[in-house]
């Protein structure tokens, strides 16, 4: 809907591609879009705590440049405001990665390549987003910046570690955000905040000029309120990058044109056993709805998934600790104590056990990939439950009381462990949404997005709009 006929509230919930189309047609200026986004951030961020910095001056300059560009109609993201987890380099800002320690770092000299590529497609960076310290987190809580808050219930977690990314998109502050996913940090907040998230194949999107966590598991990817927005932004970010040693030397494989290809010929299964154990009824209800819509009649056993989760846990502890060893020696008091104590423990894991995990990883990869000989898509819950309350320390999974912080990723860790691409789709249950993982073989993001689009078109998954109207009024002038 063109903006001149849309109310300000409708504009708030527009998709990125709707914004780009409208800007491209000249029906609204990029400057106006960006001003409205900045006003909404000003109005709602004190409530949602999604942003840790805004980049208003550069956003306004960039928006003016878009408005003046003769080719703006050809820019797939013309005038689209977006924001990034604060572990992405933003020129002129220190890359804090959710920490206090990194605030002393010098400002980044150049944007992350993913920011550069989105801006080349017409998008406009408006700020940096809250996250769990050094990404070792599934809650979205941050001891230095405060917890990011779930737009569907402000007393509840966004999920982490890309908590601000989830809150910003679900709260309508921006239509598009970037985050990172080492063990589930895109998929968990997508699930708890009720939005779409794409964790591409390991090595697909460049991670250079972003602050790492676990080099052999780190992925970057987008959050959005529609599948098309995921696809368009993903296409804009694809392509090799020699500055990231793990980034694949393969050309971009655009997916947007095939998005509406439907489910014809795609074989869909549901992950059983481990991926049902411990799931709350709402996680199973969401899975059942998506499985029913996609006619997933088969159930597959992802072999040794519990061991894969354990191996990912061990590798994360050890590699994460290795990354931070110097800071632990010199600046231990400046960490979030919960992160510090996990990292110190990780530094003490014997190397022989870490190597065992890496040996198992290759075995597991070979056996899981065999499943894709018979199925194109595997469905699994994204999280065991809907958003817990902020500050909630434990929950009960399969009759065992466990800490929330490391266990929200029980269903995501066995998948990212071998780098499979996943689209998380939001099922709008009441009172809170919850996500389902659409998992495909390596490099088949096209299939995951097609399946996500199909189930979105059926109306089974959608990003539900939170009831933030009372706080909306003050910031939509």
């Amino acid at each position: 809907m063109p903006f001149e006929t849309a109310s300000p509230v409708e504009m708030t919930w527009s998709t990125a591609t709707d914004v780009a189309d409208t800007v491209g047609r000249g029906e609204v200026s990029a400057v106006e879009v960006v001003e409205r986004a900045l006003a909404r951030i000003d109005g709602l961020n004190p409530v949602l705590n999604a942003f840790t910095a805004t980049t208003a001056a550069r956003a306004r300059a960039r928006a003016r440049a878009i408005d003046a560009a003769p080719n703006k109609a050809k820019m797939p993201l013309a005038g689209v405001p977006f924001a990034v987890k604060n572990l992405f380099d933003i020129e002129g800002l220190a890359t804090v990665a959710g920490s206090k320690i990194n605030r002393a770092h010098p400002p980044a000299q150049r944007d992350s390549p993913l920011i550069e590529r989105l801006e080349a497609a017409g998008a406009v960076l408006v700020g940096a987003l809250n996250m769990g310290e050094y990404a070792y987190d599934f809650t979205g809580e941050n001891i230095h910046d405060g917890a990011s808050r779930n737009p569907h219930d402000l007393a509840r977690m966004t999920g982490g570690s890309s908590g601000g990314s989830g809150g910003a998109v679900a709260g309508g502050l921006v239509p598009l955000a970037l985050g990172s996913d080492t063990n589930g940090s895109i998929r968990v907040p997508s699930s708890l905040c009720g939005i779409f998230g794409l964790k591409p194949t390991y090595g697909r999107l460049s991670r250079s000029r972003s602050f790492p966590f676990v080099a052999s598991l780190d992925h970057l990817g987008p959050f959005a309120r529609s599948v098309r927005d995921l696809a368009v932004s993903y296409d804009a970010m694809q392509g090799p990058d020699p500055d990231d040693p793990a980034c694949a030397q393969r050309p971009a494989e655009p997916v947007t044109a095939q998005l509406d290809g439907g489910m014809q010929g795609l074989r869909v299964a549901v992950a059983g056993s481990y991926f049902r154990k411990g799931a709350f009824p709402e996680a199973l209800e969401a899975l059942e709805r998506v499985a029913g819509a996609l006619q997933a009649h088969d159930e597959v056993d992802i072999p040794q998934a519990h061991r894969a989760r354990s191996a990912a846990y061990v590798i994360t502890a050890a590699e994460g600790a290795a990354l931070h060893l110097g800071r632990l020696k010199k600046q231990a008091h400046e960490f979030d104590p919960a992160v510090r104590d996990r990292l110190i423990a990780g530094a003490m894991v014997p190397a022989s056990l870490v190597q065992k995990a890496q040996l198992f990883r290759r075995w597991y990869r070979e056996h899981v990939l065999e499943l894709f000989d018979h199925h194109d898509v595997i469905l699994a819950p994204a999280t065991p439950c809907t958003a817990p309350r902020i500050g909630q320390l434990t929950f009960t999974l399969d009759g065992v009381e466990l800490p929330v912080r490391p266990n929200m990723g029980i269903y995501t860790q066995p998948i990212s462990f071998i780098g499979l691409p996943v689209v998380t789709v939001p099922v709008p249950l009441q009172p809170l949404p919850i996500g389902v993982q659409i998992i495909c073989a390596p490099w088949r993001e096209d299939i995951a997005l097609r399946a996500a689009r199909a189930v979105e078109q059926m109306g089974v998954v959608t990003a539900p709009r939170p009831r933030l109207e009372a706080t909306d009024r003050g910031c939509e002038s």
Partner: protein
């Protein structure tokens, strides 16, 4: 010697070897985290693999 005591001693020795400033009030949480991680590691280690198995230190999809 109890398992907890031996793990406490391991943590103290490892902290010294790694030159990590382990404060007394952090030890319970570090031990709890290490116990969980070692339990996960044992779950992996008990899975038999042939001597020819190759690791995946840098995973290529």
């Amino acid at each position: 010697m109890t398992v907890t005591k031996s793990l406490d001693e391991f943590i103290e020795a490892a902290a010294a070897a790694l030159d990590l400033p382990l404060q007394a009030e952090w030890k319970d949480a570090v031990r709890a985290n290490l116990e969980v991680t070692l339990k996960h590691a044992a779950t992996v280690a008990e899975f038999d693999l042939p001597d020819t198995a190759e690791p995946a230190p840098v995973f290529k999809a």
